[in-house]
Amino acid sequence: MNRLTKLLEAALFAAPRPLSVTELLVLEPEAAPDEIRAALRELELHYDEGGHGVQLVELADGFQLLTRPELAEAIAEAHLVDRPRKLSAAALETLAIVAYRQPVGRGEIEEIRGVVADGVVRLLVDRSLIEVVGRSDTLGRPLLYGTTAAFLELLGLKSIDELPRLDELSVALTPLAPLGAFEEG
């Protein structure tokens, strides 16, 4: 590959969208549009003839390097794009609070944990571990969350009453103190 082809390859690889010949010209202002087209042709041939997993595709708004469609399924099935997730410490703690204090609003969760919780709450809802079970009567009528059937299933419990009632835990997670006291913590 000559320098121009190499440069085009790198730019097409790194760009977040298809690039037109005009845009590619900016890389090498001295080159003529025909030289760009010739280099693109070379790149296309290279990827087609070498039996690559990738190809150069001309789309309406320019050129782009794309994986070959016949491999798409294998890659999708391998879950490679999505990093596998276990529940983080934050998610577990939030889940524990919902389990023991349901129905509970986000504000209360945040007061107990001392950190903002909307991301974690959304994640738990997405994973069907908690769900909206109503609205509070307090100011702003915040959503209240509870655990789901899927949550019980995961733990092998028939009902929420089967959660371990460790005295200490239930006391500490019972709304006793005015929670405002925690605000500065």
Partner: protein, 245 residues
């Protein structure tokens, strides 16, 4: 990361801004490096004065971290001045802790240079810019058991701020606040003792702020500071009763 010079070349204020340093240790290390001082044998009196002068020029009021370091340096300076027996083998150099921290910090700065170099090199390589949408697949099943959940509950409880150990540490007093506190007291009383200005457990920053505020008010002629005997109590009194009323 090369900091501008901070050592005074003449009587003018140093032309340097606080945010050019990542902290008091950075400023201190810059002072030391600039003068090619041996870190193991810091002329603490000189460096302490330079440090105080530098942060004075930098605007003390926003800088509790710097105030604390200034207080620490001044204390070491005083400790170095205290007489000690000639052959006292138990004598510990008051500078030792500071030297240890400076070396530790210098080592971190060396690592920082290395990290910054690596990050620059990595930034010269681009990953693929366009990525396909993640495939529509159900998320992988989650593993969860009661043991995990119980431990999470314990973590929640342990992490809960206890009302009893509430933040007892108030924000450090800055010079502005100290000035206000002194003015208030002066308005009410013609004379009081210095220690009344400190709270129950003053931090280093509180003490420094009060001292600086006292000196500033004395310079402005608002109050007078007097100590009747060596190591005696220090009295603060209104310079002009009319003015303070």
């Amino acid at each position: 990361m090369t900091a501008p010079p901070v050592t005074p070349t003449n009587d003018q204020a140093f032309i340097v801004r606080l945010d050019e340093f990542s902290g008091p240790l950075d400023l201190l290390l810059t002072l030391i490096r600039e003068q090619e001082i041996n870190i193991a044998d810091i002329p603490i009196a000189q460096v302490a004065d330079q440090f105080v002068a530098a942060i004075g020029a930098l605007g003390l009021n926003q800088a509790a971290d710097y105030l604390e370091m200034a207080a620490r340096l001044l204390r070491i300076k005083i400790q170095m001045l205290l007489p000690r027996p000639i052959d006292d083998e138990d004598w510990e150099d008051p500078r030792a802790e500071l030297v240890r921290r400076l070396l530790e910090y210098e080592q971190i700065r060396e690592v920082v240079d290395w990290l910054a170099g690596r990050a620059r090199a990595r930034a010269d390589r681009f990953a693929r810019g366009w990525l396909p949408d993640p495939p529509e697949q159900p998320p992988r099943p989650i593993t969860l058991d009661l043991d995990q959940l119980s431990r999470a509950v314990e973590d929640v409880i342990a992490g809960m701020p206890q009302p009893t150990q509430h933040r007892v540490v108030p924000r450090p007093l800055d010079v502005e606040g100290a000035t206000r506190r002194i003015s208030d007291l002066l308005a009410r009383r013609e004379r009081f003792e210095l220690h009344e200005l400190f709270g129950e457990r003053p931090t280093m920053a509180d003490v420094i702020s009060v001292l600086l505020a006292i000196l500033e008010l004395a310079r402005m002629g608002r109050l007078r500071v007097a100590q009747d005997e060596p190591f005696g109590t220090i009295g603060v009194s209104r310079e002009s009763p009319d003015q303070a009323a």
